[in-house]
C-alpha cells in the first residue's frame, strides 16, 4: 500500500478526515472504519469550503451519472461504470390504487448490476484504488456481491466475495459470472459479516463494507441527491426506504440535509419512513418499543437482501426516523409478494423482494394513518425482480396455455 502522503489530495474530493459518529474523535483519511476509543463507526468529514463550490450549474453540467455530485463525494471517480441517474418514475396508477395524491418510484434496478449497491461500490472501489489496494472484497446478501464482482472486473482488481450459502440462485450466478473468488459460507449473513471482519484484520484487502466502509457509505447519498434534482431541485414530503443495515436510510437523509445547508434546495420538512421484512425486523421492533439500541435477531423470510439481524446503522436509522416524524413498519412474506405484484401491475417496474417490502410497508403505513396520502411521496425500489424470481414464480404463470388455433383462443375465454 502507498502512503497517503504520496497521494494528491484531489483524489479524495472534498473529504477532509474521518470522524467518529459516537465520540467525535477525528482520524486521517485512510482504510479504517472503527474508532479506536469507543468502537463507534467512522464517517467521512468534509471541507465545507470545498463543498460550497458545488452549485446546481456545476452539477447539471456534469455527467449523467452519480459522479455529477462528485464535489460532494469523498473520492474522485476512479472506478466508474456509469452508475446512477436512474429514473424517477411517476406512479399515478399505484397512487390511485392506494388513495394517494402524488407518488414517485426511484428505480435503482436500472444500475449496471441492477441494484443501488453499484453506487456504494463505485465510491468504495475508487477509494480502494486511491489507497493503493489491489483486492476488492465484501460480505454480502447478494446485491453487493454482484456490484463488487463487476466493479473489480471492470477496474482490473481481484475480487473476494463472501455470501451466505443459501442465497437465491439468481444472485449467485450474477456474482460468479464476473470471475473472482466467491465463497459460500455455511451461516447467516451476520455470521458471514463477522467472518469478514476477522479476515479483514489478516489481509491487505479493501473490504467495501469493513475497512473502506466510511467511503462506501457515502455513495448512498447520491440516491438522495438525484431524487431532489429530478423533482426540480426540491425535496419530497415523505420517503419510504427499505432497511437492512440502515445505512441507505441515514444517507438519504444526510444528502437532503447537505443540499439544504448548501442552499441547493429549500430546507422544506420531510418525513423518513423505514421498511423491514417481518422475518428480520430488529429496527422496526426497536422503533415500536421506543428503544435507542437495536436488539439483534436471527433472520428468516424471503427478503434475503434485507436479512441483516444485527444492523450496524440501526441506531442512526432510528434517530433519523424519529427526528423527521416518520415511522418504521414490517410486512410478512405474503405481503412482500403482494407488494412486488402491485408495483409491477401498476407501474411496469419489477422489483426484487426488497421492493416488495417497501411497497407492502407503504400500504401498511397508509392504512395505519402514519403516512399522509395527501403528501408527495417517493418510494425506493433498490433492486431488480429478475434476481429474486423464485419469490413470485408460483403466482406469475401464463393466463392460459392453448393450442395454436382461433377456436382454442375463444374457448379459453380470451376474447372476453
Amino acid at each position: 500500500m502507498t502512503s497517503l502522503l504520496d497521494r494528491p489530495a484531489a483524489q479524495f474530493g472534498s473529504a477532509l478526515n474521518l470522524v467518529c459518529r459516537e465520540c467525535g474523535t477525528t482520524y486521517e483519511l485512510g482504510p479504517s472504519h472503527v474508532c479506536e476509543m469507543c468502537f463507534g463507526p467512522l464517517e467521512v468529514g468534509y471541507d465545507r469550503e470545498l463543498q460550497k463550490r458545488v452549485t446546481r450549474e456545476v452539477i447539471e453540467s456534469g455527467p449523467a451519472t452519480m459522479w455529477r455530485y462528485g464535489g460532494l463525494l469523498p473520492v474522485a471517480p476512479i472506478v466508474d461504470l456509469n452508475v446512477g441517474m436512474t429514473r424517477l418514475v411517476p406512479a399515478p396508477h399505484l397512487a390511485r390504487e392506494l388513495g394517494m395524491r402524488s407518488l414517485w418510484v426511484k428505480d435503482d434496478s436500472g444500475n449496471p448490476t441492477h441494484s443501488f449497491k453499484d453506487r456504494v461500490v463505485s465510491v468504495a472501489a475508487s477509494a480502494a484504488k486511491a489507497l493503493g489496494f489491489e483486492v476488492l472484497a465484501c460480505a454480502s446478501t447478494g446485491n453487493l456481491a454482484n456490484a463488487v464482482a463487476a466493479a473489480a472486473a471492470n477496474s482490473g482488481m481481484r475480487s473476494v466475495v463472501l455470501i451466505p450459502h443459501d442465497l437465491e440462485p439468481g444472485k449467485v450466478v450474477t456474482t460468479a459470472v464476473y470471475g473472482g473468488t466467491l465463497v459460500a459460507v455455511r451461516g447467516s449473513y451476520d455470521d458471514v459479516n463477522r467472518l469478514c471482519a476477522e479476515v479483514a484484520g489478516e489481509v491487505p484487502w479493501a473490504f467495501v463494507n469493513v475497512n473502506v466502509r466510511p467511503f462506501y457509505a457515502e455513495g448512498s447519498k447520491t440516491v438522495g441527491y438525484e431524487i431532489a434534482e429530478q423533482l426540480g431541485w426540491r425535496l419530497p414530503e415523505q420517503v419510504v426506504v427499505p432497511i437492512a443495515s440502515g445505512s441507505l436510510l441515514t444517507k438519504v437523509d444526510k444528502a437532503w440535509r447537505e443540499l439544504g445547508s448548501l442552499g441547493l434546495v429549500d430546507e422544506t420538512p420531510y418525513r423518513v419512513f423505514g421498511a423491514q421484512s417481518s422475518g428480520c425486523a430488529p429496527v422496526a421492533s426497536a422503533f415500536r418499543a421506543g428503544h435507542e439500541v437495536v436488539e439483534p435477531v436471527r433472520p428468516s423470510g424471503i427478503a434475503k437482501s434485507l436479512n441483516i439481524g444485527n444492523p450496524a446503522d440501526g441506531p442512526y436509522a432510528l434517530d433519523v426516523v424519529r427526528r423527521t416524524g416518520g415511522s418504521i413498519a414490517d410486512v410478512d412474506d405474503a405481503e412482500i409478494v403482494d407488494g412486488i405484484r402491485l408495483l409491477a401491475r401498476t407501474t411496469g417496474i419489477f422489483g426484487e423482494t426488497a421492493g416488495g417490502v417497501t411497497i407492502g410497508t407503504l400500504r401498511k403505513l397508509l392504512a395505519s394513518g402514519e403516512l399522509d396520502p395527501g403528501a408527495e411521496t417517493v418510494v425506493l425500489n433498490t433492486g431488480d425482480g429478475l434476481k429474486t424470481l423464485d419469490a413470485v414464480e408460483s403466482v406469475s404463470r401464463p393466463t392460459a396455455t392453448i393450442a395454436p388455433t382461433l377456436t382454442a383462443f375463444r374457448e379459453a375465454g380470451l376474447f372476453e
Binding site: 459516537e22 472503527v34 468502537f39 463507526p41 454480502s140 446485491n143 453487493l144 436471527r298 450496524a312
Partner: protein, 87 residues
C-alpha cells in the same frame, strides 16, 4: 481471547491473549488488570457493552446469551468484533 486489530496496541501487538475467569465480565476485568485500557474501550461509563461492539463467546453473540454474565469455562474462546455494515 481474540484481540481485534484496534485493541492490539494495548496487548503489545498480540492477536490472542489468555486469562482465567468464570464469566465474560470476569474476562474483561482480568484483561483490564493485565492490559489497562481495554475495559473502557469495550464497556461504556455505565459498565454496559458499548452499542457498536459485538462480543462472541464460542462463536455465539453474547446478546443471545447472558451478556456480560455469559459463562466462560476453561477453553472458551472470546472474540470482540466491531459492528460492520453491508448488505
Amino acid at each position: 481471547m481474540r484481540v481485534p486489530t484496534i485493541l492490539r496496541p494495548l496487548t503489545g501487538g498480540q492477536a490472542e491473549v489468555s486469562v482465567e475467569a468464570d464469566t465474560l465480565q470476569g474476562v474483561l476485568d482480568a484483561l483490564e488488570a493485565s492490559h489497562p485500557g481495554i475495559r473502557t474501550r469495550v464497556l461504556d461509563d455505565d459498565g454496559k457493552l458499548r452499542r457498536f461492539v459485538n462480543v462472541y463467546v464460542n462463536d455465539d453473540d453474547v446478546r443471545f446469551a447472558d451478556g456480560l454474565g455469559t459463562p466462560t469455562p476453561a477453553g472458551t474462546s472470546v472474540s470482540i468484533i466491531p459492528a460492520v455494515a453491508g448488505g
